[in-house]
Amino acid sequence: MPALVNYGGNDDVRAGGLFFSKLTDPSLFLSVASNLNAYCPPRKRSRVAAPFFLDLEEMASAKDEPKPCSIDVLPDECLFEILRRLPGGQERSTAASVSKRWLTILSGIPAAEIPKKKKLPDLNGDVTKEEVKEDGSDGQLTRTLESKEATDIRLAAVTIGAGARGGLGKLLIQGSHPTRGVTDLGLSAVARACPSLRLLSLWDVPLITDAGLSEIASGCPMLEKLDLARCPLISDKGLTAVAQKCPNLMSLTLESCSGVGNEGLQAIGRGCPQLKSLAIKNCPLVGDQGVSSIVSSASASLAKIKLQGLNITDVSLAVVGYYGKAVTDLVLTGLQNIGERGFWVMANALGLLKVKCVTITSCRGVTDLGLASIAKCCPSLKQLCLRRCCCLSDVGLKAFVETAKALENLQLEECNRITLGGVLGGLLNCNRELKTLALVKCMGIKDVSSWTAPLPSCISLRSLTIRECPGFTSASLAVVAKICPQLENIDLSGLTGVTDQGLLPLIESSQGLVKVNLSDCVNLTDTSIATMVKAHGSSLKVLNLDGCKKVTDKSLLAVAENCSVIDELDLSRCMVSDYGVAVLASARQLNLHVLSLAGCSKVTQKSLPFLANLGQSLIGLNLQFCNLISTCGIGSLEEKLWWCDVLS
């Protein structure tokens, strides 16, 4: 007697039989020893005691038993064979919603394995809801997953849904679910189902590794843009895979990827002949070798280079200077190991002939000499932006501005050695085309007590920004007015030293101001605002008076009366009240798009009906920190102005 009999204690078991606890589980079928000859399922009486041959009729009569197999017992490969034969996207989407296992298997079906059926014309003409953003040209879709919704399951669902509707073109994953985040499995699903993926952006997705990236490279050969930020497990291996399998790569951005080093960059340089844009930030393993090799390999195509916080030296800049024949935009930030010589060599290599826009931030190697070389050797330079370059002096600025023949836009931020005298001196012989000048937080800019030298004349200057330079006051503003008669855009935010007296000359001398930003100019009053609005009402489009505490309803009255084309009006923290709002709303000719009354303590519920009247053209309304307006008041306003974005 076999020892297995009755071990479950069930009454159904006959003597000499095997006992199965669950008929539906085939893995419990035990291998039958040749001398054991009776099989007794718990539901059926034992029929046979000896081997017998097939009897079809008997088999047929046994068919009215309950179904012996359940789909759950099917191993994955069987479920795969079923699910891959589902005929349409809709059916696959339904199946994807059944359970996690089905979703996983469905997302694992490569696009090539789905048998193609002949498409019959759909006489019913289904109308599908367009709820996704469609990239115009060929029906490619864009999907973005952010933080908590970024899980493998969601990603699998996205790929199945997108696959049915023309395929995913752009995928952006920003953040990852804290416990069930995106892993290589999710990326594999994307790789299998989205062969026409063009853009992949992965930010803060810590669990993905080279394996996932390699799968993407194999599955998505059309990849054009790759953007990785804070993915510590990605290393040169993953990048090499991309380099080998994605020859169409045009843009590569790597930020804080601590595993990526020189070899990966080298591979990209060799494998991607179409590379146009390169941005590498805070990758500690990247050094001269990587940067040099990629810049030199991609010399013919590379147009935009951004290097930030890298351990590179003068050598890299020399290579950029020599091989940057196609470079139009160059951004260098926080490169501590580069000295004066680096910038000099970069310019004098005479390769940066097409560069139009250069931005240098926090590089202590930028000195007068380097800047002068850049001006001399980069004939196409139109825009220069220098931030926190403390070595730049008035002399260097003058030399630069005089030499840069194509310069149209100059921005200096926190360059504290520059003085107002230096700026004026530089402007004397500047290029006739200089359109934009910006001086931000330059502590050296102070009023000149007396200016004896001839004043420059900048008739070409259209935009002037002087922000948060505490030494700049009304007196200097009067000088500015004399120099720049054709200003259209002025930005004087944070200049607390400017008063009405200083602004008036500027108002008088300009022809037609378009954008005026006077935020935090706390000493300005209605007088100058009203004057300005009266003089420039026909051209003024943007007026920002955020934080001008002395501005009251009088200015609003002036705006209502005079401004015919005003588009954006920012009155945050001003002393305007309901009366002013009412007047503004009653101005029929106004086509205001954006209005801000944030922090206006005098604006109350009474303004709400007037704001509703304004609503025809309004698309943005800011009512934050208006403590006298209740939330239900804002709620009803939101309902009335349903097309408008109301902040509260």
Binding site: A38, K67, D72, L74, A95
Partner: protein, 159 residues
């Protein structure tokens, strides 16, 4: 066993529950597993540990019919009709197709895998999610918020 006059070889198969079946060797070659066993010269009866008698009976029958079709004794249409109606019971909700698929997967019979997969897919293609879950007694293991997201993702499918 006696071979027939056309010198067809017969092989014996034993199902997991001990029943013996006879089948033409040529028919049995539909299965990769059996093909290997036969070529390796394994002694009869060949044991099939994962196929029970009920299912094996149906599968052997299908092999015989396929052989008949190959020899021109029945038409392709008749074979297909038999497969759909008898073997896979595709018109009635029944677990047969699943059993056949399972067995065909074990036996590595491409044709049957294709047919059975097709039949089951056809059967579920017009069902809604709930109907599929009920029919197969599958438990919904999505977290509630995940399910909502998957649903939204594919909401157009549910009109």
């Amino acid at each position: 066993m006696e071979t027939s006059t056309c010198s067809k070889k017969i092989v014996q198969l034993r199902s997991s529950d001990g029943q013996l079946f006879e089948v033409d060797e040529e028919a049995a070659m539909s299965s990769e597993i059996l093909k290997n066993m036969i070529e390796m010269g394994m002694p009869s009866p060949l044991p099939l540990y994962e196929v029970d008698a009920t299912t094996l009976a149906m599968i052997v029958e299908s092999w015989n019919r396929r052989l008949q079709e190959k020899r021109g004794e029945i038409t392709e249409a008749e074979l297909e009709r038999w497969e759909e109606e008898e073997l896979l019971k595709s018109k009635e909700p029944d677990g047969d197709a699943i059993c056949v698929l399972l067995a065909a997967n074990y036996l590595e019979d491409e044709h049957l895998i294709d047919r059975a997969g097709e039949a089951i897919a056809h059967h579920i293609k017009d069902m809604t999610v709930e109907e599929v879950r009920d029919y197969f007694e599958i438990e919904n293991d999505f977290e509630r918020e995940e399910e909502e997201k998957v649903f939204q993702q594919n909401a157009w499918a549910f009109h």
